[in-house]
């Protein structure tokens, strides 16, 4: 079968992965340089670091999904 044509650049999964990925980078960096007083606010849990790393993982998974199942234009039977 001929290679499937990919739809235009607009795949919402990539947009979501981009935003959450940027947030992930920002929060991870913040978490690494976090002051101890902020960590103590949540009883010793470094929220920025954990949150940031999780978001990075999420962003990568979404990118993989978008690559694995790219949007393929569907020929629709004429409507009405």
């Amino acid at each position: 079968m001929a290679e499937k044509k990919k739809a235009g650049a607009f795949d919402i999964r990539i947009v979501i992965a981009a935003l959450i990925g940027i947030y992930g980078v920002l929060l991870t960096v913040l978490g690494i340089v976090e002051k101890q007083t902020e960590i103590d606010k949540a009883a010793g849990l470094n929220i920025n670091l954990w949150g940031g790393v999780t978001m990075l993982v999420f962003a990568v998974l979404f990118l993989l999904w978008a690559r694995w199942r790219p949007i393929v234009p569907v020929e629709k039977p004429g409507q009405e």
Binding site: I12, I22, L26, L30, L45
Partner: protein, 559 residues
């Protein structure tokens, strides 16, 4: 113009503002990208019926995940505890599954472009006009309320003046909807869903960590004024307002679970529009069913933080014990954010709240412009113009709708009680609508006259019960009055419709194909088995069964 000082002021720093600003760049970017896909009015109002089911499914619940849901349900969590989950497990999921399995084939299969248009084809013009106008008005009022709530939160959290945030928020929503239409609204709702989860999940986990895990929360709530029964969902006496356990369970199952929620989820065009935008019948049916899976877990990141706040935040614990203080239940989520989150995650939490409030308003406006253009202007005012004209009409209807919403936001700021009443009243209106729809879909004998007479008398009943309960003639605390009001409206609509139908002449059967169950061939109300719909996880009824089983398990675990 000095910003209001507040106990809730969050000390946002530069990094928090960067996170908030990034989100808005993405929101506007999506509006711009979605514009390329708009070439006719169907693209603008229904995304060209082209979206995959997971997108419309997430948008389906995001459209409802607005200010009232997030702030209101965490407040209920702080006040009533676990019983609040009924708003999700009893009051939403069963109705969403019913919409997908039973009703969607008629909505999507008949190729109507809006819920009022279904009304027109089934019952003719009087019922259609009543439905279209009341829906359009309701959306404008609710959009104004959403806008006002958003501005209040920005004012309290960040200290911006109310009018600045009203206009800024209105401008952002307006620009992405006029550009990209429903696609922009739906894609932003999906993005918003993930941002809200990214904001609230860490808050919940950090709260649970601080309170000493689940057992720690159970112990603390049991020792608090709420007592141990606040950690179990049933029988939920405080929520329903009935002191008798059995009555309370019946009230929740029939009042919240049946008349209120079925009316809301199955006839509200804001919701149904998302499913109508999907690419085929199978995807349309799966939209609410896929949405039900995240929906059943949302209470864990909305209700649980409220419960945690009531035992963890000193000001709120004092309010719960004494009934007075500087804060109240509505502040539960904000107080927990203030106490737990470091800068960075704080910015993300504020972004999540702003996203949620704006998406609520965007959903109102994107369904308003559709009904205004297709159902009111094209049908009654300016007929038979080229499609291009109605596309432009839709864009201008959005602009006009936004301006009116700014006006209703101003009214809301002056009469906050009035707005509460109006919202409550609209929740009643859905019950008679549901009665009319369900009768109309399954009883071919029901006549056009019965359609509008039933609707008007059901709505009148709802208003009567509402007035009586406000004057104290009917005295039911909690949600009791809405249960009774919606229930009475449903029954009256049903009975009057039957009586009027018997006395008047039915529509010829040939006009009802595709609209009534017994007259629609099976192929037309089930999906055509396309190659891309293979796989058990794409079968609507099976998915609905899995969802229902999960709901039963959740109810047993948290009984």
């Amino acid at each position: 113009m000095l910003p209001q000082e507040s106990i809730l002021r969050l000390d946002a720093t530069a990094i928090d503002y960067v996170i908030i600003a990034l989100y808005f760049v993405f929101v506007l970017g999506i509006g711009h990208l979605a514009r390329r896909a708009v070439s006719n009015s169907l693209d603008f109002f229904l995304s060209g019926r082209s979206l995959p089911a997971w997108v419309t499914g997430l948008a389906f619940i995001s459209a409802n995940l607005g200010a009232i849901e997030i702030m209101g349900m965490s407040a209920n969590g702080a006040q009533y505890g676990m019983a609040t989950v009924h708003y999700f497990w009893i009051g939403a999921v069963p109705a969403m599954l019913f919409l997908g399995v039973v009703m969607m084939p008629f909505y999507y299969g008949s190729k109507v472009r809006s819920v009022p248009e279904f009304m027109l084809r089934r019952f003719g013009k009087p019922a259609h006009l009543v439905n279209a106008i009341s829906f359009a008005l309701a959306q404008l009022l609710i959009a104004g309320v959403n806008l006002f709530l958003l501005a209040t939160i920005v004012n309290v959290l960040l200290g911006w003046p109310i009018w600045v945030s009203v206009i800024a928020a209105a401008a952002i929503v307006l620009s992405y909807i006029t550009l990209g239409g429903l696609s922009a609204a739906i894609y932003n709702e999906v993005l918003q869903f993930f941002v809200i989860v990214a904001a609230l999940l860490p808050l919940t986990l950090a709260g649970l960590h601080k309170v000493g895990g689940w057992q720690g929360l159970v112990d603390k709530v049991s020792a608090s004024p709420g007592g141990a029964e606040q950690m179990s969902a049933w029988p939920g006496n405080a929520l329903s307002g009935f002191s008798n356990d059995l009555l309370s369970v019946i009230g929740i199952v029939f009042g919240l679970g049946f008349v209120l929620s079925f009316g809301y989820w199955t006839t509200n065009f804001v919701e149904v529009q998302r499913a109508m935008a999907s690419k085929d019948m199978s995807a349309a049916r799966r939209t609410p069913i896929i949405g039900s899976f995240p929906k059943m877990f949302i209470p864990f990141i909305v209700v649980i933080p409220g419960i945690i706040a009531a035992v963890l935040v000193p000001e709120l614990a004092k309010f719960k014990a004494t009934g007075s203080g500087e804060v109240d239940y509505n502040d539960a989520l904000l107080l927990l954010i203030r106490d737990l989150l470091p800068n960075g995650m704080l910015g993300l939490a504020i972004t999540g709240l702003l996203a949620s409030f704006m998406a609520g308003m965007a959903a109102n406006l994107s369904s308003f412009n559709t009904v205004m253009s297709y159902d009111i202007i094209e049908r009654y005012v300016i007929k038979d113009r080229p499609d291009e004209f109605y596309l432009r009409t839709g864009r201008w209807a959005t602009v006009a709708g936004t301006l009116v919403a700014i006006g209703t936001a101003a009214i809301a700021s002056g009469y906050s009680n009035l707005m509460d009443y109006l919202q409550q009243l609209f929740s009643f209106f859905n019950a008679p609508l549901f009665a009319t729809f369900i009768l109309g879909m399954f009883w071919k004998r029901m006549t056009a006259t019965a359609g509008w007479v039933g609707l008007v008398s059901g709505t009148a009943t709802a208003i009567l019960v509402f007035v009586l309960s406000k004057n104290g003639v009917i005295d039911l605390p909690g949600q009791g009055a809405s249960f009774v009001g919606a229930g009475a409206a449903f029954v009256v609509d049903f009975l009057i419709s039957v009586v009027v139908s018997v006395a008047t002449r039915p529509k010829p059967e040939s006009e009802l194909v595709g609209l009534v169950y017994s007259l629609t061939p099976k192929e037309q109300r089930t999906e055509v088995a396309a190659a891309r719909d293979r796989g058990w996880y794409r079968r609507p009824v099976l998915l609905a069964g899995i969802s229902l089983t999960l709901i039963i398990i959740l109810n047993i675990v948290f009984r």
